[in-house]
């Protein structure tokens, strides 16, 4: 009864059988497996070729069997060719783990099968049977074993992907299929085809072997589609790492950009200061000559006994103002060319800060200002000119005190640092691994806006009513000439921080 039902509906079974292969083939074909780390991807094309050639071929072939026309010739040829691909697929898959089967196996077997068939009583029937025994059967066997071994050897990578059941299902179904499709062939005149064949199978099992083949094919198709998860997961993982990497690169780019902007600002500042320095030297020269004539004449008037008191008083004023002008020019020149002898020696920065603070108290009232000292003991000693550095500290502290008007906090901090890749900017005079001393002078004064910040190191720029605007200009020049850096951070209403960085140079190098 069952038997009749199946035999009557065999065409539907063939349709499903053929479709299973088409689906599998197309699915593998369109799978995004390029650049996959799994070697399975390298051989899957053979399975695609097998499935896509086999599907229509077997369809023809089976249909003709159903119509009891043995050996539909184009179908048989196509089927035989398709199995060559499956055989090669299985051989290579097994070859990943066990290199026991060599490439010449397949051509030898194929030639053997063809020759044997020619020599036999009925070429097409013999070909059908022999391809089954020597190509289909080993092909299915190898593919089944191959999938099993592949999972075993790649267990570590595959386990988290939860694809064990698919691999095992494919493996088992291919093994079963190798029997149903490779051993159970058409009835032949020789052993074992005279004993095990489609007819004897039907008699024993009462179900046509095609049903089993189709079940196996469907399970294989389902299983293979399941194993695709490894490529999908792999793709997702790749995508994730790509996203993370891209984000990191973006971040890096942003940092580099910001760094470059800072560097550019410093470069512009440095170039500007240089040209200003040169200009100042030229102007100083031009002004000193007439100033000399003026002061000389005034001096002679002052010394002249014949002149009246009023003239002498006027001469004294002229002389005094000449002295002032000379002072300004000297300071200007102090930037471009240190006038006095610069004595560089290892300097105890903390001590200079202490002295500067006590000097500060002579110059301005600092009763209401809280002075916080965060000085690192045993600070390395940079090679510097003491009076110059003191001038810098005093200039900055005076500004700080004035910025705070009546009350506030003046924090002076010292520490040493090693230049690392992160902290280094291209403009820095410091080399990687250099040790530097950092001096931070922070006030809680009124702070500066961006416009002011840009100009504070310019000569003659001042926000004070009485000021030459040379203090920070000179300080900048001093720190530059000592091979250091001076920077400022400020926020309107919150205060300013001046940061001075001085390199620690070994004495013999610095001299």
């Amino acid at each position: 009864m069952f038997t009749e039902f199946f035999i009557k509906n065999l065409d539907i079974v063939f349709l499903i059988y053929g479709l299973a292969f088409v689906v599998t083939g197309v699915a593998i074909w369109v799978l995004p497996k390029k650049e996959s780390e799994f070697r399975l991807a390298d051989v899957l094309w053979l399975f695609v070729a097998y499935a896509l050639i086999h599907a229509p071929a077997d369809f023809f072939s089976m249909h003709s069997i159903m119509k009891e026309e043995t050996g539909h010739i184009p179908g048989q040829i196509l089927t035989s060719i398709s199995y060559l691909f499956l055989f090669e697929f299985g051989r290579r898959l097994v070859g990943f783990t066990k290199k026991i089967l060599l490439w010449w196996f397949l051509p030898i077997i194929a030639i053997g099968v063809v020759i044997s068939s020619i020599l036999s009583y009925d070429f097409w029937t013999s070909l059908n049977i022999l391809v089954g025994y020597f190509i289909r059967f080993p092909a299915g066997l190898m593919a089944g074993v191959g999938f099993f071994l592949y999972y075993k050897t790649q267990k570590e990578k595959l386990k988290p992907l939860k694809v064990k059941k698919y691999f095992y299902a494919v493996s088992a179904s291919l093994l079963a299929w190798s029997f149903f499709c490779g051993i159970v062939r058409a009835k032949g005149a020789f052993f074992p085809a005279n004993w095990i064949n489609t007819d004897s199978f039907l008699l024993t099992a009462r179900v046509p072997v095609q049903i089993f083949r189709t079940i196996c094919a469907v399970i294989t198709a389902w299983g293979i589609c399941g194993t695709f998860r490894i490529f999908n997961e792999e793709g997702i993982k790749k995508l994730q790492t790509e996203v993370v990497e891209r984000k990191r690169a973006e971040e890096e780019l942003k940092n580099t950009y910001n760094e470059l902007r800072g560097t550019q600002a410093l470069l512009v500042q440095s170039a500007k200061m240089n040209s200003v320095g040169q200009l100042a030297a030229g102007v100083a020269h031009e002004i000193n000559n007439p100033l000399f004539v003026i002061s000389g004449e005034a001096e002679m008037l002052l010394k002249d006994a014949k002149k009246d008191r009023e003239t002498k008083e006027a001469s004294r004023v002229i002389l005094e103002q000449c002295g002032r002008a000379k002072g300004i020019i000297d300071r200007l020149l102090g930037f471009s060319r240190p006038g006095r002898e610069v004595k560089r020696q290892p300097l105890d920065i903390n001590k200079v800060i202490e002295e500067s603070i006590s000097l500060l108290s002579y110059q301005v009232k600092i009763d209401e200002i809280k002075i916080i000292k965060e000085l690192t003991v045993n600070l390395p000693k940079p090679l510097c000119d003491k009076s110059q550095i003191q001038e810098v500290f005093l200039n900055i502290m005076l500004n700080a005190v004035e910025a705070m008007e009546k009350e506030g906090e003046l924090t002076v901090k010292t520490y040493s640092e090693k230049i690392t890749e992160n902290g280094r900017r291209k403009i820095d005079k410091f080399k990687l691994g250099d040790k530097i001393v950092v001096i931070e002078i922070k006030d809680t004064g009124k702070g500066m806006d961006e416009e002011t910040l840009k100009k504070i190191f310019n000569p003659f720029f001042t926000t004070k009513e009485e000021g030459t605007g040379l203090g920070l200009y000179v300080s900048y020049g001093i720190i530059e000439s000592q091979g250091g850096l001076i920077e400022v951070q400020s926020k309107l209403g919150e205060g300013s921080t001046f940061i001075i960085k001085l390199a620690i140079v070994k004495e013999e190098e610095g001299q």
Binding site: A281, A284, H285, E286, N288, N289, P290, L291, F292, V293, I294, S295, G296, E297, E299, M300, K303, C322, K326, D330, L333, R337, P338, G339, R340, E341
Partner: protein, 121 residues
Amino acid sequence: MKKILVVDDEEAICNMLKKFLTQKGYEAIIALSGEEAIGKVKEEKPHIVLLDIRMPKMDGIETLKKIRELDKEVGIVMITAVKDDDVGRKCLQLGAYDYITKPLSLDYLEGVLLVKLLDFS
């Protein structure tokens, strides 16, 4: 009377110094360039030369060398508008007696002259 040669490309400075030196009882002569100064050193044999450094054509240092070749005795005081330790050191090596920066105090100049002129008395 001690003879002093003032060398400066700026006439106002020369005139002012001449006036001062004359008041102080010296005989002052003027040269407005290095070339002129060398000629005056040959002709007038001054005791002291007040020599400006930055001058067009022949500068003070060049002039200093030439004068030293002509006359080993003459006292040379360099007067410069821009102080530069390196240049100052070089001048002293080349045989200058002093190196003073403008604008200078005439009092100081007189002191330098008095000390240097002791050599010639």
